[in-house]
């Protein structure tokens, strides 16, 4: 087995600066420091880059003026109050919640079964099935949305909520599969053996042993699937129509059509809603641990 590359030819060929162990403790290790500074700086810039837009939307939504200027000239909650009258936006938000709920429910039920099969069985068709189930993450969702619309049309239907939920299930179930399969593979098989040798049926073992243990993984996956459905644009663009309007499309339409600061306020609410759900999932299921 070839040795790791780091060892090839390094010993004894460096200049004196590289002989660390005999250096005095007060000398600063510039070389190591330079790496840390560069990477640290890049990280800080990147983190600001990641977080800033969210913060800016929140601050912009608190503007007292009619325009989307940052920093806002004066602060006020008026645009949040304006949302109270935004009937259509509320209906769209409600539709999105309902659709996300059903999508998550169906994805959890179907996805848990599929995860068990993939994590445990050696059947060959499952390797191919695994790739198929994960492919919506890689293939352009817009193309799938369009294909789904054409398909429904050919079958003689027009877009409606059940089809929209089905479309969302396809693009959201990969999230559940990923975290649940990971959780299942970390499950100690000895526990399952113990349960079965004590006389429990497969279903009992699943309910009492497996499910509680994979619950954090499954919960995190369910949360990701819920948010993916709630925020989905490419599939909803084709499968949702005016009678079943969803929030991201409504916001998209608003941004497309006029300068409305209420869009910023709605965005602010979505951000807060997401943050709250994230904190809850972190507390209950250790979300950040599942993502690593």
């Amino acid at each position: 087995m070839p040795a790791p590359r780091a060892f090839s030819g390094e010993v004894g060929t460096g200049s004196p600066q590289k002989m660390r162990p005999t250096e005095k403790a007060s000398n600063i290790d510039w070389e190591a420091l330079s790496l840390r500074i560069v990477f640290g700086a890049l990280t800080i810039v990147a983190m600001v880059f990641l977080v800033a837009p969210t913060v800016i939307v929140l601050l912009t939504s608190l503007t007292a003026s009619e325009s989307l200027r940052f920093p806002p000239p004066a602060l006020s909650l008026r645009w949040y109050y304006a949302l109270i009258d935004a009937d259509q936006m509320q209906r769209a938000a409600w539709n999105s919640l309902v659709i996300a709920f059903w999508t998550t429910l169906i994805s959890v039920v179907l996805g848990t079964g599929a995860s068990l099969a993939i994590a445990r069985s050696r059947a060959r068709w499952l390797r191919a099935a695994d790739l198929l189930f994960m492919s919506p993450l890689l293939l352009p969702a817009l193309a799938f949305g369009f294909a789904a619309l054409v398909y429904i049309n050919r079958l003689g239907f027009s877009p409606n909520i059940p089809f929209l939920v089905l479309g969302h299930v396809i693009v959201c179930v990969p999230f559940i599969l990923r975290t649940t399969v990971a959780a299942l593979t970390q499950l100690d098989p000895a526990l399952l053996d113990a349960s079965q040798s004590l006389g429990a049926s497969s279903w009992m073992t699943f309910r009492r042993v497996t499910l509680p243990l994979i619950a954090p993984g499954l919960g995190s996956g369910a949360f990701l699937a819920f948010m993916a459905s709630f925020d989905n644009v490419p599939v909803s663009l084709f499968l949702a129509d005016e009678r079943t309007e969803v929030l991201p499309i409504h916001l998209w339409q608003q941004i497309d059509t006029n300068l409305d600061v209420r869009t910023a306020a709605a965005s602010g609410l979505i951000i807060v809603f997401t943050l709250v759900l994230m904190v809850v999932t972190e507390r209950m299921a250790g979300l950040t641990r599942q993502m690593r």
Binding site: L105, R243, D256, T257, L259
Partner: protein
Amino acid sequence: MTIRFNRRTMMGGAAAFGAALALPHVARAQAKTLVAATFPGTWNEADRNVISPAFKSATGAAVTQSIVLGTDQVARLTAAKGNKPPFDVAFFDTPQVLDAAKEGLIVEYPAAKSPNFGELIPKFQDKWGPKITMQVIGIGYNPKKISTPPKSWEELWEPKYKGRVGLTALNSQLGIAFLAELNRIKGGSETDFEPAFKALRELLPNVGAIAANLGAYATLWQQEQIDIAPYNFNFVQTLKAKDVPVEFTIPQTGAAGWETSLHLVANAQEPDLAVKYIDLHLDPKIQTQVMKPPYDVIPTSSKVTLEGAITNSLAKTHDDLAKVRGFDWEKLNPQRGALIERFNREIKV
């Protein structure tokens, strides 16, 4: 400190949530909703802020707005032909009416059920649907950067406006009308658009940005990313009300425009509500209200006298409005697809 994932609490929670989802569905079935199309910009705001509340107090029903451009409405109605249409009320500019009537997408307007129809100025009473307003295009400019109003379209090509000119994509009526007007000025005809595209190519160095849609266009003005561009009267007024620095002026070649109308869609789900909704747009009280800022909509009812910004920039009486030049949509419509494709090619970076 993690909360234990108790199966029972989870099931209980899920059941409660599910029940909550079922109930409002039942409750909401009582209150009816009408789905009506409207245009982006001035009209969707006028419909949302003025007409929808009036409709709600008159009928108790809510309105879901479908904010879609005229040509896209025709596309959606065509795709849904034979099935449930995506909306019950269509909002068209003159060109779309011809296509929609021919394809059987809209039905003749039941004027008998519409009390305010008879009070419209006669030329606005069309059998396919009442005309609710006129749109006029001209030059929009930023008064902070351009102190004297531009006098002609030619000024857009002047070197001093390099990078300051804006345009909008051809999917909107504003885009097509500008191209058609440009074509006319440069000596082209409805069958020959080369003069317009040649002029467009010459304009490109001056173009700062081309907006894909009217919302993005409005953002360009607000961010002062562009200073001079074709625009229509109503959109300018709506932006002015939001403190965006923009003014409207009609070039020396004269005003060009078209009419906008509402229609009852074939196979509508709520035809009676739809007619009531359309009729509300013809009500002199409503028309007077939307004639005021920030909408400044040109009224079509004989019972409404022109006032305000309309008389300042456009016309003092309805007879003046009759002088606004129209377009030959019968000849332009069939070319729309080809024009859009050609336009997209010419502007692509």
